[in-house]
Homo-oligomer: 391 residues x 2
C-alpha cells in the first residue's frame, strides 16, 4: 500500500511531546495522559455513532469543527458517559485546565475519557495534577499510551516515516469494540503539512477500511474517538501519500488492538472476495469476525468449518450462492462449492493454532472485496467481563 | 394471553404417537425420532432464512406447500447441511423410508436433521432402523424429544389444553440460536381441527413474537424449522384461541430453550417499552440479549449498568433520547434519565443472580413494545464450542 518504514520503537513526530502520570483515579498506574504540539495543528476527527455518547464525544464534536487542535488530554478508569450536563461541564474543565497550564486557547484542547460508564469524573484530581502532568512532557509515545489503557495488556504506539514526515498512532482498546466511526481511542500525530480538507478526507477513508472493520465483541462503545493532528513541522506532503501512510499505520494498529482483544489468544483476519459489491463483502467479513461459533472454533483449534458456511449464510441481505462458496484457513481450502473440502484435518487443526488465523472467503458472485479484523473468544473474555465493574 | 392449562407431564394430542431409538449415528443415546398422526393433518411451517440452508430445509419448503403432513422424522448428530445434491437425495430417502414403514404417501413425511454441518448423512443406518423405529411408537412426547437433542441438557416438550383440544410443542436447541424464522427444530402437534390458512397465519404470527425473538448467541442456524400439524381429532377450534394458545406455548418453550442455552446459568428476558414503534422496540430488545457485555454482566452478577445504556445506544437506526432512557433490573430502577440511578448495589447484585433476570428498558419516546429472550454468557459456552466438532 505504501513504502512507509516503521520505526521501532515508535517515536513522536517533530514538535510533539507527551506525558502520563497517576493523578489518583486509579489506585496505581498512569491514569492521565497529555499529547501536545509546540504549535497549533490542522485536525480532523471521527467519533462513535452510539446514541448515548460520552460527554467528551459531545464536546469533541464541537471542538473538531474548527479543524485546529494543539493538545489532547485523556484519563482512564472513568468514561464520563451517562453523566448529563454535569459531565459536559467537567469535560470542558478538563480542557481548560490543560489550556491554562500550556498557556494556549481552550478550544485547541480535545479531551477523552475511557473506563466505566456512568461513574462521575473526579475532575478535581485532574485539575490538581495538571502542572505536574505538563512538567512531565517528554518524547516517548509509549509513556502516554500507558496512561490511556483500560483492559489493554500493553501500551500501543507505532510510527512510520512518510518521506521527511513521521506519522505516529497511539491507541487503546480491548473490549466493547466494534467501532462504527473509530476504535475506542486512537490518536494520530504527524509533522507533515496538510490542508484540513485533505487530512479530513484521508482520515475518514482510512478509518472506513481499518478501524471500522475491527470487532472484538460486537459492542459499540460510547466513547470511540479517532483524532489526527498535523503540525506541519516537516513541510508539505502529497495527500495521497498521507492517506496511504494512514491506512498502513491504522491497519497495523487494528491488528495490534484485535490481537490484544479482551481474553484473546490470537488475531483473526477475514478476507472476503468475490462478493456482489464492497458493501456485501464488508457485511460478510463482519459476520465472520463477529460469530461466537467461528471465534470459539478458532480458540479451540477445532476445524468445524460448517460454521463458516453458517456465518456467510446468515447475511440475509447479501447475494450468496452456496454452490460457488469457497473458504480457506491459512491458505488451505476447507470449503468448496458450499460443502466441506476434503482437507487434511490435523494440518488445519495446527493452522488454527497459529497467529494470525487468516480466513479467506470467496463468494464467487462478483468483484466486491473487504477485510475485517477480530480475535478468538475465550473463557478469559467471559471472566474478565463478569467482574470488570467491581474489579 | 390465554386461559390455557398446561399439562405436566406433557402429553401428545389425540391421534399422535412418537418414538425414538439409537440407530448408530451417535455412539450412545437416542439419535432418531418419529412423530406420526393416525390420519393426515393440516400443516404449516417456517424455516431458517440462512442462505446456506440444510437439505431437509430445502426439501421441507417444497413439502409444506401442500399444507398437509402426517409424520415428521428427525435425526440428531449430523445436520445434512453443505452436502449438495447428494444430501437432498438422502433427505428424500429418509422421508421415503418412513412412508414405506407407515404405509403412507412420501409427500406426507417431513424430515429434519440437526448436528454437525458438512458431514454426510449416514442414510443406510436410518433406513435399516425404520421398522424398529415404527414398532417403538408410543405416547410420551419426551421420548422423541430426547432423540432430537444435540447440546441440550434435557429433552423439551410441553402441552396445554385449548378447550377440548390439546396443543403439544416438542423442540430442541441450545447453541447457534438466533432464529430468523424459527428456532433450530420445533414441532407443534394439535388434535384441533383448523383450516390450513388459519393454522399458517397463527403459526407465523406466534413465531414472530416468540421464536424469532430468541437469541442464545446471534448465530442463525442453517437448519431452523418450526412445523405445526393439526389432525382434527378433537373437532373445530376458534382460530383466535388457537393463535393465543400457540403464542402461550411457544413463549414457554422459548424460555425453556433460552434457559438451556449452551453454558447458560439463567434466563435473560428483556422487555422494551416506549420505543418509536414495534420494529425499533424489537431491535433494541435484540441488541440487549445479544450484547456479550450485558450477558457477562448477568453471568457475573456485576451491576455494570452503563452497558445497558451502551447496548441501547448502538441501535443507530432507532430513536433514542438519552435523557428519557430508563432501565430496571427485576423491578429495581438502575438507569434514569440516561445515567445510572442511585440504586442499592448489593440488592441489584443479588437480583442479577436470580432466574430469570428481567431487564425492562423504557425509551420514553413512543408506544412501541417488544420482548426478547436470551441467557447469560459463561465460560461454559466457550469451552463447549471450542471442541464441539471433535467431541
Amino acid at each position: 500500500m505504501t513504502d512507509a518504514v516503521f520505526h521501532a520503537p515508535a517515536r513522536l513526530p517533530r514538535g510533539f511531546r507527551c506525558a502520563a502520570i497517576n493523578c489518583g483515579i486509579k489506585a496505581a498506574g498512569r491514569d492521565l495522559s497529555l499529547f501536545a504540539s509546540e504549535v497549533p495543528g490542522v485536525a480532523a476527527g471521527v467519533f462513535t455513532r452510539n446514541l448515548v455518547p460520552g460527554a467528551p464525544v459531545i464536546v469533541g464534536r464541537e471542538l473538531i469543527r474548527s479543524g485546529r487542535l494543539q493538545a489532547v488530554v485523556v484519563n482512564s478508569r472513568v468514561a464520563n458517559v451517562g453523566t448529563g450536563q454535569e459531565g459536559i461541564r467537567k469535560a470542558r474543565r478538563m480542557g481548560t485546565a490543560v489550556a491554562r497550564a500550556l498557556k494556549i486557547a481552550p478550544e485547541l484542547v480535545l479531551m477523552s475519557s475511557t473506563g466505566v460508564i456512568g461513574a462521575p469524573l473526579p475532575i478535581d484530581l485532574i485539575e490538581d495534577a495538571m502542572e505536574t502532568l505538563v512538567a512531565a512532557l517528554q518524547d516517548d509515545p509509549l509513556v502516554a499510551a500507558e496512561g490511556i489503557m483500560t483492559t489493554d495488556t500493553h501500551p500501543k504506539a507505532l510510527s512510520l516515516s512518510l518521506g521527511d514526515a513521521v506519522l505516529t498512532v497511539v491507541a487503546k482498546g480491548s473490549g466493547m469494540i466494534q467501532p462504527d466511526m473509530a476504535t475506542m481511542l486512537c490518536y494520530v500525530f504527524t509533522d507533515a503539512a496538510v490542508e484540513h480538507r485533505d487530512l479530513d478526507c484521508a482520515l475518514r477513508r482510512a478509518v472506513e477500511h481499518t478501524l471500522n472493520m475491527l470487532s472484538v465483541d460486537t459492542d459499540t462503545s460510547t466513547s470511540d474517538t479517532c483524532v489526527a493532528i498535523a503540525n506541519g513541522r516537516s513541510g508539505a506532503i502529497d495527500p495521497a501519500a498521507l492517506e496511504a501512510g494512514l491506512r498502513t499505520a491504522l491497519t497495523m494498529m487494528v491488528e495490534t488492538l484485535a490481537r490484544d482483544g479482551e481474553g484473546a489468544t490470537r488475531l483473526l483476519r477475514v478476507s472476503v472476495l468475490g462478493a456482489a459489491d464492497c458493501t456485501q463483502a464488508r457485511r460478510v467479513a463482519k459476520s465472520l469476525v463477529n460469530s461466537p461459533l467461528v471465534k470459539t472454533m478458532v480458540y479451540g483449534g477445532d476445524p468445524n468449518v460448517g460454521r463458516i458456511m453458517m456465518a456467510v449464510g446468515k447475511c440475509f441481505e447479501c447475494r450468496v450462492d452456496p454452490d460457488r462458496l469457497t473458504a480457506a484457513i491459512n491458505g488451505v481450502r476447507v470449503v468448496t462449492a458450499g460443502g466441506p473440502a476434503d482437507f487434511d484435518e490435523p494440518r488445519v487443526r495446527h493452522l488454527l493454532g497459529e497467529d494470525p488465523v487468516d480466513l479467506t472467503i470467496d463468494l464467487g458472485v462478483g468483484a466486491g472485496e473487504a477485510r475485517a479484523w477480530g480475535c478468538d473468544l475465550t473463557p478469559g473474555y467471559v471472566s474478565e467481563n463478569a467482574a470488570y465493574y467491581s474489579s
